[in-house]
């Protein structure tokens, strides 16, 4: 993750679909174009759905990785 600056982050572990995407979207609305948002998501439905929905809104997924344990970390670039 160190190669990307992170302007803001959201820990959405334990937050179910679609509220995890809704919260990601609301956070992105507050940010500036080009800003990077880091989001922590559970495995299963959240990691399957949220990045796809974020891309459908026109944003870019810069990175997806799995630090340790049962969750993922994604970095989104706001378009």
């Amino acid at each position: 993750m160190s190669e990307f600056k992170v302007d803001d982050s959201l820990d959405l572990r334990g937050v179910l679909c679609p509220i995890n995407f809704v919260k990601t979207k609301l956070k992105l609305e507050e940010m500036d174009t080009g800003d990077h948002l880091e989001v922590l998501l559970d495995e299963g439905d959240p990691i399957a759905n949220v990045p796809r929905s974020v891309k459908e809104e026109g944003h870019m997924i810069l990175k997806v990785d799995r630090p340790e344990g049962d969750y993922y970390r994604i970095v989104i670039k706001k378009s």
Binding site: I19, F21, V22, K25, L26, K27, E29, E30, E56
Partner: protein, 263 residues
């Protein structure tokens, strides 16, 4: 995040839509919409606008709930018979959405009070059941510059149309004058399939939300006509009439009048 957890959850299915988002939902929350008539059309309009989170909803109706209303006026229930419709409606709407402000007006709209009622609202929805009021409402909206979402129903038929004064045609650009008294039956004489009120009313509510959001293509310049027996819609293109007596180049109607009540 500035939004409450309840707000995020309640409106999540709106916020997900790319045309709405958090900003759009806030616009809905700041909107002030006036619904004229909480009967067949006004019921679905008000129900969906309350559920959608419209911040201020005015409701105007002078009637009390009658047993014969319940076949189509889905805001009201059997125990409401005899109660003022605005009171019955306000109770249900507030229960759906406790955050919104509901302003009931138990009165008939007339040329004397219409401007005063309209002044606090951005968008007017016509759910009235008679031509004199419909023309009065159109004229007042054109004069006051308020957007108007028109709907009308009879038997298995319905129509919807949106007026943005001076930008597009108004109701009088289509229908110049009210029909002569007695020429056209109303719902109590001709009948109405209750569900048709639901179709047209939800189209009106959708138009209101698109207007608030500034998204999509409105029913301006086209009259949408429903034949529910055939279950088909058709559209008639409407042009702004330069000779329209209210929104034309040389308006001849310069003050509001009350047409003869024919019902």
């Amino acid at each position: 995040m500035p939004y409450s957890e309840d707000w995020i959850e309640r409106y999540s299915r709106h916020i997900i839509l790319s045309e709405v988002g958090g900003g759009g939902q806030q616009k809905i929350g700041n909107a002030k919409v006036l619904v004229l008539g909480v009967g067949g059309l006004g019921s679905p309009v008000a129900l969906y606008l309350a559920a959608a989170g419209v911040g201020t909803l005015g409701i105007v109706d002078n009637d009390v709930v009658d047993l014969s209303n319940l076949q189509r006026q889905v805001l009201h229930t059997t125990p409401d018979i005899g109660r003022p419709k605005v009171e019955s409606a306000a109770e249900k709407l507030q229960a759906i959405n406790p955050d919104m402000t509901i302003k009931p007006y138990r009165e008939l709209v007339t040329s004397a009070n219409i401007m005063d009622i309209f002044k606090d609202y951005d968008i007017v929805v016509d759910g009235t059941d008679n031509f004199p009021t419909r023309f009065l409402v159109n004229d007042a909206c054109v004069m006051a510059g308020k957007s108007l979402v028109h709907g009308a129903i009879l038997r298995f038929d319905g129509q919807a149309f949106t007026v943005i004064p001076h930008e597009g045609p108004c109701y009088r650009c289509i229908f110049r004058e009210p029909p002569p008294p007695g020429a056209v039956p109303n719902c109590s004489q001709a009948g109405i399939l209750g569900a048709v009120a639901g179709i047209i009313g939800t189209i009106q509510a959708t138009e209101v939300l698109k207007l608030i959001l500034g998204k999509g293509k409105l029913l301006t310049g086209r009259l949408l006509i429903l034949d529910a027996l055939d279950m088909s819609f058709r559209e008639t293109r409407i042009r702004k009439d330069p000779d329209c007596p209210i929104c034309g180049q040389n308006p001849t109607i310069t003050e509001l009048t009350d047409y003869e009540w024919v019902c």
